[in-house]
Amino acid sequence: MIVSTLPPLVVVGLATVVAVGTLSTRAHAWRRGRVNAPVRISDLLNVPRRYLVDVHAIVDRRPIAARMHTFAAGGFLLTGILGLLAAAGLLNGHVAAVVIALSGMSGIAGATFAFARRSPRKPSYLSGGLYYSLPWLLGLANIFFMGVGISSAADLMVAWNTPSGIILLLTGMVSLTGLALITGKGPMRHALAGTLHLAWHPRPGRFNGQSADTAFAQIDLDAPKLGANRVEDFAWNELLGFDSCVQCGRCEAACPAFAAGLPLNPKKFVNDIAGSNAPVQYAGSPHPGLPEHREQAGPILIGEEGASIAPETIWACTTCRACVDACPMMIEHLDGMIALRRFETLEHGATPGKAGDLFDALRETDTQSGNPLPARLDFAADLALPLMKEQHPVEVLLWIGEGGYELRNQRSLRAFIKLLRIAQIDFAVLAEERDCGDAARRLGDEIEFLRLAQANIATLSRYSFRSIVTLDPHVAHSLTRDYPSLGGNYQVFHHTTFLDGLVREGRLSVEGQLNGRVTYHDPCYLGRYLNEIDAPRALIDKLGVERVEMARHGRQSFCCGGGGGGPVTDIKGKQRIPDLRMEQARETEAEIVVVACPNCTTMLEGVTQPRPLVRELSEILLEAVERRSS
């Protein structure tokens, strides 16, 4: 018996040794990272729930890929376990043999799925290279385990020295050792790294079901180095995260910068960091317009000779978070992006384009546009806005934002202010409102962000108000997610949420006053970041218009190109992101694109005509209210 079961166990053992060898190289590389929190083995208990709930929710957005993974991974693991159990004599009988056969067939089916995905032509978002071998290796491994398992369980003992026995052993040896080898720099890396990443994920808040953990970590401003430009500047579990990439390309497909041909492919970006840490085979799409991947890169990520990432890659990002939201491995692309940006901005002062002007303006005037603070209210000189310093407590503090300085968004603001007046809301504005710091933070200038945020928190502490309302999702996000760790805790409403409340309470009547076909563009910082998908749609649906959706909407919305300082860094691509988004809007044949963010308004209205009209939600709402009252 022992003699007869030994050869397959030897094959498995050999593969295991190889796997341990390759993984120890990876593990060694993860240890380069900082350790921020105690590493508890008990955290491994997080894995099943995080895998089955959070990961599943994302994987399942592509049902075919999800089934493929269930069969390929599940079939392989099950067949392997059952096969080994049978070989060890712990499973016997015809029923067991049939179960093993079915399991093996499932695994083979999964492998076939995986093969078929790349056949006859590989979709551009998927990787090639070693990924082509994966279906074969999995298929052969399943055949090996099936052979071993069925023959052991059904007692159809194979003589290992017969030709068929030797073939089976060779099959096992080749497939399992092959899989073990590609656990290092190849596809199977994701399995172990991904599992460990789920256990010790750097943002545990991601798994509470609300995806609310979007604030960037603060940095120690007294540290010898600000931001990251080498792999060791990341935390160990962040490096683990980058290593868990399965190169499925969902981030690539979601990324607006990649779609527009800007030099950023988030999938490649993650593998750039992983590959700088330890060799990684990358056979996916490059950063558009930049050279191919270098397999063996040094530990330097950016800003120096031999760096693995080009500066334009990190500045092409709009921080729209589509990649993070799409990633089934829960990788934090943006944390990587911001760490590198912080280094480039704070250590090198190398923020490109007009970002330098923006920083100057913020430093000198506390506004992005370089205007005096009181001029923020110039646009409403004839509306006699009550000031907080003259009139508080109030129900609502209206946060004007940078839009107050900008002609287009002044119109949205005026419309919203008129709506507040019609609804008889007790509100006031700040004469001393400073920029919220969102742009500075996302451009890596953490020092400027902290200065502005602390100044605003000090201002707000002087006044009494129930809630803050703003038309700018970036402001809403910054005040709710960035400010609490600095001691600023407020009830903040984006105006769409607030207006929805007013309409529900009957303080505004908008019903059925308009017609035509409209589509709604979800701002990234409202939909994906703040999870407000429904309120704007509920409002639009009351107006009497026909609402049609773009293919990319809600949490899957496609960025306008205006976030993360994109308009100032102004990295060139083949196309402009807003042009792509407007094309998606045109496809709906809507007459109006409704927007709910000053950046989206500016970006989308900047697209050349003919195109649908761009209207801020307040504007069409006001039109409906005024029609109703006339």
Partner: protein
């Protein structure tokens, strides 16, 4: 930042906040109702407030005393307390839109007539003849001075009680206050004449009385000249000195600087420059004064575009830019700018139709001054119709624009290769090029609103019927009228000369029996190209119907090029003799005939309508061409059915009805089409 952000900076004067830097100055809009701001005048100004303007001033030369009658141009009288409730109503109306309202007050001194409302003899510092108003005046006496100063004070009090945001004391264009200043007029030897201090005394006394009545917080400004630009008048230095002294008294909150004076026709044309003048010709005058004083400076004079207005503010030349005539062309300038629709602003082209004695109406915007019946923004129709317009001149373009704004499907046929009709011909005449902007704007609006424009297609009745229209608008224009002249085949039209379709000859006789711009335009055009030109007219002078801001320029330019004028002639016949054309002209009054031997004879009698298409379609239309004139005037839809089997209604607009002008053409169209 925005291209025009400088214009959107609010201006604070004492406690008054003006929301932006764009204003309209007081002018003679001729819309008052018995000396009061009635409905028409209020709606006219309210439209600007609605359109986003920061400050609108009304009541050009509003009177403070009965010997300065505003009735001459249907203006405002501030002479009694009866006006206060009207001012209150008006002010509320403007404030409702977040705008501000001020009025101008004046005594015109000698610059008025003795035979107007009250038949009172005009007063002057020194009684001298004045060309512009042909005044006969008497020397102002001490009791007049007391009376008029009191009149200013009481008028100011009424304005304050009426809720106006401020007042402008008029001291430019040679009204009484600046008649005292001007050594050309004031030759007194008492305390009101001689030194500048003495000449300024009356103005000081007026301001002191005004301040006494309204207090220190109320906004009081003064309109003054930056340079009288006339021999013997006030120089730029004098004007600067005057401004400095009045401002130094602390009694003024702003000055409004304008150029020149209105001593005669040509000075009138310089004071209100037309399209021959480049943009912002006198900004430098205001800028010079702004550099010396520390209160806000306002300025008007041919600032018609936002780029220039922005420059004026951004570079610090002035604090408020008046775009008065630009607002007559389009009262929604500020809103359109704020909405990023600068291209939608109907441009002031400087045609000066608003100065042609018809009040503040615009050559190509028929809604201005008619806000009660014609909306500036055309509301959408509830039903969608198919409207076919034949002809792409101003009438056809306006019909297409308005119909498209109504939400209808519009198809426009133009036989030629260019839209704009006769505007394109008129714009060929030397400095008249600015007229082309009228056609350009209309074309832009028509194309942007989705009108299906079919160029180079002379529509036939069959073409139009094949489209199954609900409404057909015939705007086919007219052709030059040669009627009544024997031997007309030897004559050509002003069109031929201006378009160059006939080569200009050496010796040209132009005979005019229309009185409008074409003949004198053509004379100037031909003379500037070297022809020897005689302009003969049936009228007592050439260009009798031309706006008084344009005629002096036409006369200046034609005189400069030696055009000979022979008025009071009729062209009886033309015959050939050798290689010359002989024109037989007869004196209208004596019948005496005389002959001219010339190379070319141009006849201008306006146009005759081109009615072929109209006649073809008439029997097949539902209304058989009939217009319900009562409904047209009342602003009700046309609903006449004379031929129930027919599908479409048929109308004519513009010169296809009768040869008139651009204003008539666009008014025809908007009045009719807004109710489609």
């Amino acid at each position: 930042m925005n291209a025009h952000s400088a214009l959107l900076k609010p201006l604070k004067i004492k406690n008054l906040v003006i929301r932006n830097r764009i204003m309209s100055t007081s002018h003679a809009d001729r819309f008052a109702d018995g000396g009061r701001p009635g409905e028409r005048l209020q709606l006219y100004h309210e439209e600007k407030a609605k359109g986003g303007i920061g400050l609108t001033m009304f009541g050009g030369s509003s009177s403070v005393a009965p010997d300065s009658p505003a009735a001459l141009w249907n203006g405002i009288s501030l002479e009694s307390d009866d006006i206060i409730p009207h001012l209150q109503q008006f002010a509320d109306r403007i404030h409702k839109h977040g705008s501000t309202l001020m009025v101008q007050m004046t005594h015109m001194g000698r610059r008025t007539r003795w035979d107007s409302a009250n038949w009172l003899v005009p007063v002057a510092p020194t009684p001298k003849r004045e060309h512009y108003s042909r005044s006969v005046s008497r020397e102002i006496e001490d009791w007049d001075i007391r009376r008029i100063i009191k009149g200013f004070g009481q008028a100011a009090r009424r304005c304050k009680e009426g809720g106006l945001d401020g007042i402008e004391v008029m001291a430019s264009a040679q009204h009484l206050i600046d008649q005292f200043w001007s050594p050309m007029i004031n030759q007194r030897t008492d305390q009101y004449g001689g030194s500048l201090e003495n000449r300024m005394r009356f103005g000081f006394e007026v301001l002191e009385e005004v301040r006494k009545q309204v207090g220190d917080d109320y906004i009081v400004g003064m309109r003054l000249s930056g340079d009288e630009m006339i021999e013997g008048g006030l120089t730029a230095e004098d004007c600067l000195d005057i401004a400095r002294r009045y401002v130094g008294s602390g009694m003024l909150d702003f000055v409004n600087v304008l150029p020149g004076q209105l001593n005669d026709m040509i000075n009138y044309a310089k004071y209100l420059p037309n399209m021959i003048t480049p943009s912002a010709p006198f900004l430098y005058m205001a800028s010079a004064i702004k550099a010396e004083i520390d209160i806000p400076v306002f300025h008007a004079t041919r600032i018609t575009d936002l780029a220039t207005a922005t420059r004026a503010i951004e570079e610090g030349h002035v604090d408020m830019v008046a775009m008065t005539r630009a607002h007559i062309a389009d009262p929604h300038i500020v809103n359109k700018m704020m909405e990023g629709r600068v291209d939608d602003i109907r441009p002031c082209v400087g045609a000066s139709f608003c100065l042609s004695g018809r009040g503040a109406v615009c050559l190509h915007n028929a809604a201005t001054g008619r806000e009660g019946s014609i909306p500036h923004t055309i509301p959408k129709s509830l039903i969608k119709r198919r409207v076919v317009v034949a002809g792409g001149g101003p009438a056809g373009l306006e019909a297409a624009r308005v119909s498209a704004q109504r939400g209808h499907e519009v198809i426009l046929f133009e036989a030629g290769e260019q839209l704009g009709g006769q505007i394109n011909i008129a714009a060929k005449a030397t400095w008249r090029e600015g007229l082309a902007n009228i056609a350009r704007w209309l074309e832009g609006q028509v194309k942007r609103s989705g009108v299906n424009v079919r160029m180079g297609h002379k529509a036939t009745a069959a073409d139009i019927e094949a489209l199954e229209p609900d409404v057909v608008v015939i705007a086919t224009g007219g052709r030059p009228n040669f009627d009544g002249v024997e031997g007309r085949e030897h004559a050509i039209s002003t069109w031929d000369i201006l378009t160059g379709s006939v080569e200009l000859a050496e010796n040209v006789l132009i005979w005019d029996d229309s009185g409008y711009e074409p003949a004198i335009s053509c004379a100037e055009f031909a003379a500037k190209r070297g022809a020897v030109v005689e302009l003969s007219t049936y009228d007592k002078y050439p260009g009798e119907e031309v706006s008084k801001a344009n005629l002096p320029i036409f006369l200046r330019e034609t005189y400069k090029h030696d055009v000979v004028f022979t008025p009071d002639r009729t062209l009886k016949r033309i015959y050939l003799e050798g290689n010359k054309r002989i024109a037989v002209l007869a004196n209208v009054f004596t019948g005496e005939e005389e002959e001219r031997a010339v190379d070319q004879i141009v006849i201008e009698q306006g146009t005759l309508p081109d009615v072929g298409l109209y006649d073809d379609l008439r029997p097949r239309s539902r209304n058989l061409g009939e217009v319900d004139i009562d409904a047209l005037i009342a602003g009700r839809p046309q609903d006449i059915t004379n031929n129930p089997e027919a599908r479409f209604q048929l109308f004519r607009v513009g010169d296809a009805v009768a040869g008139r002008n651009i204003h008539a053409a666009v008014y025809d169209s908007v009045r009719l089409c807004k109710d489609f």
